[in-house]
Amino acid sequence: MTGVAERLQGKRICIVAGSGGVGKTTASAALALGLAASGKRVAVVTIDPARRLADSLGLEELGNEPRQVERALLESHGVQLHEGGELWAMMLDPKATFDDLVTSLAPDDTTREDVLDNRIYAQLSSAIAGSQEFTAVAKLYDLDRDGGFDAIVLDTPPSRNALDFLDAPDRISDFFDSKALKLFAVPTSIATKIMSRGTSVVFAILKRLTGVDLLDDVSVLFRSLGGLIDGFRERAAAVKALLGDPATTFLIVTSPEREPVAEAIFFRGKLREARMPFGGLIVNRAAILDEGEHDDPKAVRTQLGERLGGPLAAKVAAGFADLQRLAARDAESIARLKAELDEPEPIVVPRLDGDVQDIEGLLALYRHLSAS
C-alpha cells in the first residue's frame, strides 16, 4: 500500500481538510514533521489556536509568520532530520493576513490608512463569506512564493462548509466586482447618481432599523477599497491558480464516525466538481482488529473462565465484544468511504493509546501515515 510520503511525491502544497475534531491539526503537524525528517524544508500552517502543539514544538507561541522548530529539540526527541530538513510552524491570523494584504496592495499610504482605520473594515473579514478561507490561501500563496519551502502543509479552518474554502477566491473576486463596491468606488459616474438615491434609502432604512449610521463608514471604506480592486482581483486569480496547480493536493482527514464521514464524502464531491486535485484519504482513530482478535467473545469467555473466574472472564469478553462491534462499524465506514470517494486504499490510522501531544506522538502518528 502507498504511504503518505509517496502520495505527496512532486507536491509542494498539501491542504488538509475535514470536519472539526477529527485530528486535522495533529495529522498536519505529523505530516510536516515526517517530511522535514526526510530532508525537506517544510512549513505547517494551522488555524486552530493549537497552544499545545506550539508547546510540544518548543515554540513560545505560534504567530502569523513561520517560526523554526529547533533542530536540537527534535533530535532530543529522537527525530533525525536528513540534510536540508527544516520544520517551521505558524498559526494563521486572518485579520493580520488581511491587513498585510491591504498594506501590500494599497496604492498609497492614505488609502491604506483609510481602509485599516475604518470601523466597518474590522468586520469585513467576517462579512465576506469565506474570507477566513481566503486569507488562508492568500497566506499559502505568500509562503509558496517567498518562503523558499519545499513543502507547505495547510491545516484548514474549522469550517463545516468545504465549499467556502474552494470558492473563497471567487467570492473575493465577486465582492470586488460587485456593483455595490463600484457604486462607491467610482462616485462620479452617472450610474451612481441614479442609483445612489436607492442606496441612500437603503441606508436610511438600515439606520432606522439598527440605529447604526453606517453610510459614512461604508462609503469611505468602499471608496478606498476601490483603489485595491485590481490588486485583489489579480491576487484572487493567482490564489485560485495555486489551488488548481499540479503541485497542490488535498488530503481529507476523517474519523470513522457518521458526521465526519458524511462531511468527507461531501467534500470529495466538491473537489471533483471544482476539478481540484485529491491526494488521498486519512481515516483517523479507527478501531482495527489484529490477528487473533476475531475469536467469538463467547468462546473467549469460556477459555478465560477457568483462569480468571466467571465474572472477570465475562467482563473481558464483554469488552472484547464491544471492540469487535466498534471495529465492524469502523470497517463499514471505511468501506463506504472507499466506494464514495473512489479511493481504494485510504490511509487508516488506528486509535492510538492516549492523545497525541508531543513530538514522540507526532512521530508515531507519522509512522502510521507512512506505513499504511
Binding site: 442606496t199 438600515l206 439606520k207 440605529g211 482478535e293 473467549v300 478465560l304 472477570l312 469478553a317
Partner: protein, 317 residues
Amino acid sequence: MGAPAAGHLGWGAIASLLSRRLVVVMGKGGVGKTTVSAALGLVAARAGKRTIVAEVARRGDVASAFDRDDAEPFAETEIAPGLFHISIDPQDALDEYLRDQLPSGPVAQILIRSRVFGLIAAATPGMRELLTVGKLWELALLDRRTPGADAYDLVVVDAPATGHGVALLSAPRTFAAAAGAGPVARQGTIIDATLSDPKQTAVVAVAKAEELAVTETGALREALRASMNLALERVVANALDADRFSAREAKLLEPHAEHPAVARALRGHQSALRQRTQLTRLRKLTGQAPARLSLHPGGPDLERLADELESQLDVRA
C-alpha cells in the same frame, strides 16, 4: 422512611432543565453536540413537550441522526413524534425579519432583493449572529411571530463550536450596546433578557474525556460567565469508553496478557484510567459532576442515549 427516593430528586433536576424556553448545547468541534442535542430533544419529547432542535448553519445533521435525510433542513419539520427540527439560515432569518418589521410587502421585497442591502447588512457588526439568535428566540416565543406557527414548549439549540457559540449568545447584548437606539437595539435588549435569564435559558456543555475538550469546556464556562453572566447548567461527558475493571481486577489480568482479549482489556483499562483523570479535571473545571454518556460501539443509538440522559441528568451529586 420519609426521605424521597433519589430518582424523585433527580427528576426535579431534569424537569427543571426542560422547563426552560431554550436549552443551548455547546462544546468543542467533534464532541457530539449534534447527537446530544438530538437525544436531549428526544428526552423532552418523551416528557410530552413539543420540542424543536435547531441547528445553526449546518446542513441537517440532526435530521440525519434520525435517518431523515429527506427532511427539508431549513423548514420546521417533524422528525419524530412531538420532535421537530430546523436548520437556521441567517439569510432566511434576515428576510423573515424584514417582512416582520416592514409591514408594506413591496418595500420589504425590494430590500430583500437588493444586493447592496444584503452586503451592508452582512457588514454590520454582529448582524449575522443577531439574525440567527433572533430566529432562535422567535422559535422560543409562546406567541410566535411567524404567521400560523405553533408554539414550542422547548427549543434545543445545537450551537456552533465554543468560540462562535458564545459570540452567538452574546450578539444581542453586544449589538444593543453598540447600536444604542433604534428598533434592532431595542429588540437586542429583549432577546438578551431571555438569553441571559437562567429561568428561561440553560446552557449544556458537551465534552469528551480528552484533554483539549476538557480544557475548552473550562474556557467555555469562563467565557459564558464573563460575557453573559450565565452558568453552565449541566455538563455532559460524551462517548465514554466503558470503565470495567477495578485496580485489583487489573492486577489479576496482568499475568494473562498473552491472551489477545486480556491484552485488549488491559489497554482498555489504561485508557479508562486516563479518562478518569480527564473526568476529574472536568469536574474541577466546571464545579459539577458531569452526566456520563457511553460510547455506543455500533454507532450512537438515540433512544438509548435518551435513556442514559434521563437517568444521568437525574443524578446531581
